[in-house]
């Protein structure tokens, strides 16, 4: 997904002179083509994210369209005050892009995990929050960001994630993508969990459970029309995210559901535990540790579906 971002931002910079790319001293060689395309519009801000975010706000307030890029915890929680004040309070059209979100950099340890960013960022006024699922959704997200005249945050994966879509989808704030239809269950998959959600749906189908899958890339604003339809038509809705259950996309859906005041369908939320992982392991291991591996999805959905069927 990071290569998709590099390609997308390079293409965008070639056609839009307002685009500036700010990197927190990462992306070695990754942005070589960008630097060839727009050498004046690439700024390596060093390992100084607070300053980088303020700088981006200044560029945006002065007519440019900066994209700020580094590893997710460093471009979110490390400089949260600058996001809140410089970017959001001033309503500056800065696009914040976090790479290796969730458990993408699991093996690097919890300093590099980001299971809280959606909670922090979606609580900030003026902020739009995206979690694209694959390389093509990254491209769609970049396109949406440049159309949006306001603060934007997008958490992307790392490298080599499976590509689910066949073409760049049309994406906008408050949108979602129905990837697989189904009548019994709907998994609202957030970001890079989409391939797991689809694999789980395939396994559940073998059990006679017809499982829809939606890529709910817009965490803020939510696609409330889609949610209303899903909760009216499907008895079991499952949110799945590489993010804490406290404050993430599942929380956002739960908030919407409570405020709606009509909870006929049952909501089950799958997300990371309220704990830091203190052991080595890659993304697949970390997902299992946190209880969001593919088996966890299948077992949880099956159990919930059986409870509903039993009345």
């Amino acid at each position: 997904m990071r290569d998709a971002f590099a390609a997308a931002i390079t293409a965008l910079a070639a056609e839009d002179e307002r685009v500036v790319l700010l990197s927190g001293d990462i992306g070695n060689r990754m942005f070589d083509r960008f630097k060839e395309t727009a050498p004046e519009r690439f700024i390596n801000c060093g390992v100084a994210e607070a300053n980088m975010m303020g700088l981006a706000a200044g560029l945006a307030l002065d007519g440019m369209r900066p994209f700020v890029y580094t590893i997710t915890p460093f471009v979110t929680t490390r400089c949260l005050e600058q996001i809140r004040v410089d970017v959001a309070y001033n309503d500056a059209p800065v696009a914040i892009v976090g790479v290796g979100s969730g458990l993408g950099y699991a093996s690097l340890g919890a300093t590099h995990h980001s299971c809280e960013d959606l909670a922090f960022l979606r609580a900030i006024p003026n902020m739009t929050v995206f979690a694209p699922a694959d390389a093509l959704e990254v491209r769609g997200g970049v396109d949406a960001a440049i159309r949006l005249d306001g603060p934007f945050y997008m958490r992307i994966g790392k490298k080599g994630e499976p590509v689910v879509h066949e073409q760049v989808p049309s994406m906008q704030p408050g949108g979602s993508l129905l990837v697989r239809p189904g009548r019994d269950v709907c998994i609202l998959s957030v970001g890079v969990m989409l391939p797991s959600a689809l694999a789980a749906a395939e396994r559940l189908a073998a059990d006679g459970i017809d499982c829809a899958v939606v890529s709910m890339y817009s965490v803020k604003p939510l696609d409330t029309a889609m949610l209303a339809r899903v909760f009216d038509e499907v008895p079991l809705v499952v949110t799945l995210e590489e993010h804490s259950l406290a404050g993430g996309a599942g929380s956002a859906v739960a908030e919407w559901l409570v405020d709606r005041g009509d909870a006929r369908a049952r909501l089950v939320r799958l997300g990371t535990r309220d704990a830091f992982m203190h052991e080595a392991g890659g993304t697949a291991h970390a997902r299992v540790w946190h209880g969001i591996g593919e088996d966890d999805v299948v077992l949880t959905v099956r159990a919930a579906a059986e409870r509903i069927a039993a009345g």
Binding site: R41, G46, A48, G58, A60
Partner: protein, 286 residues
């Protein structure tokens, strides 16, 4: 923006100033900020007073407007990073004619666009919402980059407090700006030697302040922050290959004898009697 529904009585200090009399302008700005503080019950009076001469030097004698458009892209910008001293900023913009007196008179009333710290776009000339310290310089750095990318001749000035230099983000920006050779960027530190609760040199090792900026690669000078001629000369100077840092030595509470260098006036508020005494000291024409 419901200011039209506010019915604040006119400001007594809303009197014309003569640009040929810099010290008269500064006295008028001080008078108005004191009146605003009294009306709005706003603290940080001494912080506002220390910064007045810098604002007057910049706004009246250094900053250039865009010749083609009001608030146009080629205007010089002043980022007021010490947002807690907003009464000084509002008073200056009022005397410049950028904030209508009726709006200024509504300061801090419920519904007024003018809060104790300046909000985004709250008045023409307010380039950035500030209030949390250490934000102005990084944002100004971004503005300076944007201006350079557009090949605009505009400059960006940042007015900071010495307490603000406690913030790490200031020094992140201080390290980046010279590497980016942003000669269109100018920092002014209102060095009044106090922060909220103590002498700034006792809280953190701020001295030698000009030497710090110089060692980071800035063209650094020290001036008397209450000498408008000296300030204008320093603000007008543009080095060939480095950003500018001006350490302006000031007195907290400057201009009012019973406030000068008395840090109680960081939080203390005026009553009618102390306001009258202060205005009397400023010339008594109000």
């Amino acid at each position: 923006m419901k200011v039209e529904t506010l019915t604040a009585s006119p400001l007594r200090t809303a009197t014309p100033v003569d640009p040929d009399d810099p010290s008269g302008v500064a006295r008028a700005v001080r008078a108005t900020l004191l009146e605003l503080s009294r009306r709005g019950g706003a603290p940080h009076i001494a912080s506002a007073l220390s910064t007045v001469d810098i604002l007057v030097a910049a706004y009246w004698y250094v900053l250039r407007d865009d010749p083609h458009a009001v608030a146009g892209p080629d205007r010089d910008r002043l980022v007021f990073s010490k947002g807690h001293a907003a009464t000084a900023l509002y008073a200056a913009l009022g005397h410049l004619g950028r904030i209508p007196w009726s709006t200024l008179a509504s300061f801090n009333e419920p519904g007024s666009p003018l809060q104790e710290h300046p909000g985004p776009g709250c008045a023409p000339g307010v380039e950035l919402a500030t209030g949390s310290l250490g934000h102005g310089l990084p944002v100004a750095l971004g503005m300076a980059e944007a201006i350079r990318l557009r090949r605009s001749p505009a400059r960006v000035f940042v007015l900071m407090s010495d307490g603000e230099c406690n913030e790490g983000s200031v020094w992140e920006a201080a390290m980046l700006a010279p590497a980016r050779r942003l000669t269109n960027l100018c920092v002014v530190v209102d060095f009044n030697k106090w922060q909220a609760t103590d002498r700034s040199r006792d809280v953190m090792a701020i001295d030698p302040l000009a030497e710090k900026w110089r060692s980071f690669g800035w063209s650094a000078t020290e001036v008397d922050g209450h000498d408008i001629d000296e300030l204008v000369a320093a603000l007008s100077s543009v080095p060939a290959d480095a950003p500018t840092a001006i350490v302006a030595h000031t007195t907290k509470g400057a201009g009012i004898s019973f406030m000068e260098d008395d840090n109680n006036w960081h939080y203390r508020q005026l009553d009618d009697e102390t306001l009258d005494r202060a205005l009397e000291e400023l010339g008594g024409i109000w």
